[in-house]
């Protein structure tokens, strides 16, 4: 899915925290968003995710305004992940369950992603008792399981050990290559953006810089 943003402004009280004239994020690419703390990265991602409607301007998905179908085809992994108070397995299967997919297929897909993420030891644990890094992994797996057309990631590897970062990056790239899904990833890690991204957007004080 291609995302275009035009004349986007987001105010908090009187303060302009996001001011993007024109930005296109092409279909099938991995786009990095970088910038200092408070520069508006999470704000931009939440607006694209359709969770923040307090903005002016235009956001389009393959030239369409947001609607129910688009909500079903994109997802965001938050900076602070929230997992449901149930087992890890049940967290990951949730997006497939609400889409009415058959039990056998759900099991097959969940098993596969658990194996790819190398989190077999977590599968029957209660998700709200996981560590920060474990939660981020599960949260990414839950987002990838339904193969969205647009994947928004807000610092998905900020708490993660080097070994697990490798796994997560590998899975993000695999998702992008195998399904052609667009990925927009906020990161503070320049090496990570070099490794993963086709394009980089630099934000500073709410504006796109160079």
């Amino acid at each position: 899915m291609e995302v275009t943003v035009k004349n986007l402004k987001r105010y908090y009280s009187e303060r302009l925290v996001l001011d993007v004239d024109d930005l296109t994020m092409e279909k099938g690419k991995i786009i990095g968003i970088i910038g200092p703390n408070g520069s508006g990265k999470s704000t931009l991602l939440n607006i694209i995710a359709g969770l923040d409607e307090g903005y002016s301007g235009r956001v389009r998905y393959d030239e369409q305004p947001i609607d129910k179908e688009i909500y079903k085809e994109m997802t965001i992994v938050f900076q602070k992940p929230y997992l449901f108070r149930r087992k890890v397995y049940e967290n990951i299967e949730y997006p497939l369950k609400i889409r009415g997919i058959k039990r056998a297929e759900i099991d097959e897909r969940v098993e596969k992603i658990i194996e790819r993420f190398e989190i077999e030891d977590l599968r029957d644990k209660k998700a709200h008792l996981l560590s920060g890094g474990e939660s981020q992994k599960v949260s990414l797996a839950r987002a990838l399981i339904f193969e969205p057309k647009l994947l928004l990631l807000d610092e998905p590897t900020s708490n993660i050990d080097p070994e697990s970062i490798k796994i997560m990056e590998r899975e993000i790239v695999r998702f992008n290559e195998e399904t052609g899904g667009t990925v927009i990833i906020v990161t503070h890690n320049m090496e990570q953006s070099d490794r993963l991204c086709d394009d980089i957007v630099y934000l500073e004080e709410g504006k796109v810089g160079h």
Binding site: A49, L51, Y71, T75, Y82, F84, R85, R86, P95, I98
Partner: protein, 229 residues
């Protein structure tokens, strides 16, 4: 002082000998208050969540009105229901006044604002985050309400128990619409207040003990549930 001790002894005897009248009274109390709480919960929990996560004009005023109704005196609810159900009232032809059904209606109305308000304030604070995850994973409105109920189940259960406690311990509404008729509409609280005025302390104490045991049992269940997590 002796009569207190005697009262307790007599009360224990009543309970351990399974006095028919006492057990009838206790089970009617349980039936009326449980039914009322269940009906009110089924209706008010989804509605409370809906308003809790929705942004609408006048949300503040809505909260204030709701919170006021949460502590509505039970005699007022009793009076309202009695007026509606009385012979000449709009529902008079159903002949419900002074029946257990009337008591269920009154207690349902009594705990409705309580469950609605508690659910509303819980979801206003906690459900937004869950809603966002639901939206983001592709859930419909219905999926999201179900998700929120499941996520907040422990807190919701505590709210339901709070409502049940209010229902089973109130006396005003059931007295007015039930009339405290022997073997028909007599419940724990109306009996206690009658026995006390008749000077029958043992029965009053026995029923008071039962009320305490019920609260204790329910709270233990809730506590063990939340402890398990």
């Amino acid at each position: 002082m002796d009569y207190i001790f005697e009262g307790f002894k007599e009360a224990l005897k009543l309970l351990t000998t399974f006095n028919r009248e006492i057990y009838g009274i206790v089970s009617l109390s349980l039936i009326v208050s449980t039914t009322a709480t269940i009906i009110a919960s089924l209706i008010c929990i989804p509605i409370g969540i809906h308003f809790g996560i929705k942004n609408f004009r006048g949300k503040r005023a809505f909260s204030r009105i709701l919170y006021t109704f949460m502590s509505i005196p039970s005699v007022i609810v009793g009076l309202m229901v009695a007026i509606i159900l009385s012979r000449k009232g709009p529902f008079g032809r159903f002949d419900l006044l002074y029946t257990p059904k009337a008591m269920i209606i009154a207690q349902t109305l009594l705990v409705t604002p309580l469950i609605l308000g508690l659910t509303y304030s819980l979801s206003k604070n906690r459900a937004k985050e869950i809603e966002n995850i639901g939206i983001t994973l592709g859930g419909s409105k219905k999926d999201i309400i179900i998700l929120i109920i499941k996520e907040l189940r422990l807190d919701l259960m505590v709210n339901v128990v709070t409502a049940f406690s209010r229902a089973i311990s109130e006396v005003g509404a059931v007295m007015i619409v039930g009339g405290n008729i022997k073997y028909r509409t007599r419940v724990i609280t109306t009996t206690i207040s009658m026995m006390k005025s008749m000077g029958d302390y043992p029965t009053a104490i026995a029923l008071g003990l039962v009320l305490l045991i019920i609260s204790f049992a329910i709270n233990s269940v809730i506590y063990s549930y939340s402890g398990e997590d």
